[in-house]
């Protein structure tokens, strides 16, 4: 089983130069878009991006152990049109408009660092190589809004085990795709983010059963704006930890530098656990606006410690001063 992921295999990217096949895919997609636009009249690319995605085979959400909440789910249209994915622009509406410019097939994730079997995962391995399950999680953004999203994915632990982390590995670093030609946000000359976007977890956090590698939501493969084809979901941490469109996973013996923490260390910590008692300089973290809301019902609810997953994860931080390690 393990061999399947370490044996070198010939992927299209090794035969054809990247720019060539990306262009070819782009052309094919544009051709398709033209056709469907002709068929549907005024269908916009963003509308297609919202409804797109292939059906996935997965086990339904299991209750208990925090794997699933029965709170009202945030509708698909809101989940796919209100996103923070700064590679496509800083406005919440930018990703749905521009993320379709990103090529997600072919896709390769490189697993490296302190592992016995470094190697690569290709899109087929990601979608077909793991038993998929549904997890209905709360997602709490550091900006004090939240959603409830039915993800489809597999525990990150399963992926990591295949590459056999060594005894020295204590942290995991993740890296998002950085492709300027397809990501207009990264071309903004007033942006102060040092691309590519990076995130990290402690190894025990990464191996926790709640930590999910999502490949889909609402039963279908992820729309680009939600981090296709593979993203992290860590439900007890602020949303920015749940890094999207991952191309690199590296195991390390020391804590990696992460994007937001590097940018503003006084605002964003490495841990970034949801914590109503530790305020962010920009937003009070005591309450959250559960989306969708309406002007007549702001849907303001109190934020829970570890986003309501304290029972499952509090033991990971025993004895730590969480106002210092925020």
């Amino acid at each position: 089983m393990v061999g399947r992921f370490t044996v070198p295999r010939i992927s299209p990217s090794e035969i054809t130069p990247e720019s060539v096949y990306l262009n070819r895919r782009q052309l094919m997609r544009s051709a398709g878009a033209v056709l469907s636009a002709t068929a549907l009249g005024a269908a916009s690319s963003s509308a297609a991006a919202v409804t797109g995605g292939e059906a996935l085979d997965y086990a339904s959400a299991r209750s208990g152990q925090g794997f699933s909440t029965d709170e009202d789910k945030t509708p698909l249209g809101d989940v796919t049109s209100y996103n923070n994915f700064y590679e496509f622009g800083t406005d919440k509406g930018d990703p749905v408009d521009h993320a379709h410019e990103m090529t997600t097939d072919p896709w390769t994730v490189e697993v490296s660092g302190l592992v016995n079997k470094p190697g690569k995962l290709h899109l087929e391995d990601i979608l077909g190589g793991f038993d998929l399950q549904e997890r209905i999680y709360r997602l709490r953004c550091v900006e004090a809004w939240s959603m409830v999203i039915p993800w489809v994915g597999f525990p990150l632990a399963e992926l990591l085990k295949r590459f056999e982390p060594t005894g020295d590995a204590r942290f995991v670093e993740f890296r998002t795709l950085y492709r300027r030609a397809e990501m207009r946000g990264t071309r903004s000359f007033t942006s102060i983010i040092d691309w590519p976007y990076r995130e990290g977890l402690r190894l025990d956090e990464a191996m926790h059963p709640l930590t999910l590698m999502a490949v889909g939501l609402y039963g279908k493969t992820l729309p680009n704006q939600n981090g296709a084809p593979l993203r992290l979901v860590v439900p007890w941490k602020y949303g920015f930890k749940s890094i999207k469109s991952i191309v690199g996973i590296r195991l390390l013996d020391s804590q990696p530098a992460t994007s937001w923490q590097t940018l503003a260390p006084s605002e964003y910590g490495f841990y970034a656990n949801v914590n109503p008692r530790v305020d962010h300089p920009r937003w009070s973290q005591k309450y959250e606006r559960r989306l969708p809301n309406s002007l007549f019902d702001p849907n303001r609810i109190p934020t829970r410690m570890f986003n309501g997953y304290a029972e499952q994860v509090a033991h990971l931080y025993k004895g730590m001063d969480l106002s210092r390690f925020y």
């Binding site: 903004s188 007033t190 942006s191 002007l295 702001p298």
Partner: protein
């Protein structure tokens, strides 16, 4: 007669962003987080109208149109109008009209304080915008209404402070407000220099 028609036209034009927001709110087209959309949009329109208000005097000088001067009050009041909706949305959606949370926000989040002070500076300007007050305050009126300068600077700071990774948008407003204030500073220097020359001449004759 023509002036009146133009003024009505501008009035409707300035109200259009509000009407469009109201329409989107009524049809549920404000997105997943309508409260935030309303906040961002009204805040931005308030700043745009502040810039437009500051643009009136230079425009008058460059083009010679007397009519623009007569629009200034209306445009300025619109800046205040959008600032009020902005503030009310914050009060309603973000802090639920809680005085305790407001106090906490003002202390802990300087960008909130700065925005609130900008609104406070605009408040007396809106109140004294009538002809009656203009007459009553006489030359003090003009001095009082220079409060729009710090208000515009604070509004820019309010925006800049909230930029997380991209300061592009804030920079656009900072450059515009900066240029409009620099124009005034230069004008007042020229004016002082000219009156000094006139005074010297008067003394010599």
């Amino acid at each position: 007669m023509r002036g009146r028609a133009i003024r009505w036209g501008v009035f409707i034009l300035c109200l259009t962003p509000f009407l469009m927001l109201a329409w989107r709110a009524a049809t549920g087209a404000l997105g997943a987080d309508p409260a935030k959309t309303l906040m961002l949009q009204t805040g931005e329109w308030s700043l745009r109208f502040l810039v437009l208000t500051l643009l009136v005097s230079p425009l008058r000088q460059w083009t010679g149109w007397a009519l623009v001067m007569r629009m200034r009050r209306m445009i300025g009041l619109y800046a205040f109008f959008y600032a009020c909706i902005h503030l009310a949305s914050f009060g309603h959606f973000y802090i639920g009209w809680s005085a305790t949370i407001l106090a906490e926000e003002l202390v802990e989040r300087p960008y909130v304080t700065v925005g609130f002070v900008a609104w406070l500076l605009l408040l007396p300007l809106a109140v004294t915008s009538t002809r009656g007050w203009q007459r009553r305050l006489r030359r003090h009126w003009q001095r009082l209404h220079r409060l729009i300068y710090p208000a515009a600077v604070l509004a820019c700071l309010h925006l800049l402070w909230q930029a997380r990774s991209d300061i592009g948008e804030a920079l656009v407003y900072i450059v515009m407000v900066g240029a409009l204030l620099a124009w005034r500073w230069r004008r007042s220097r020229l004016w002082h220099a000219r009156s000094r020359v006139a005074a010297t001449r008067a003394a010599h004759t």
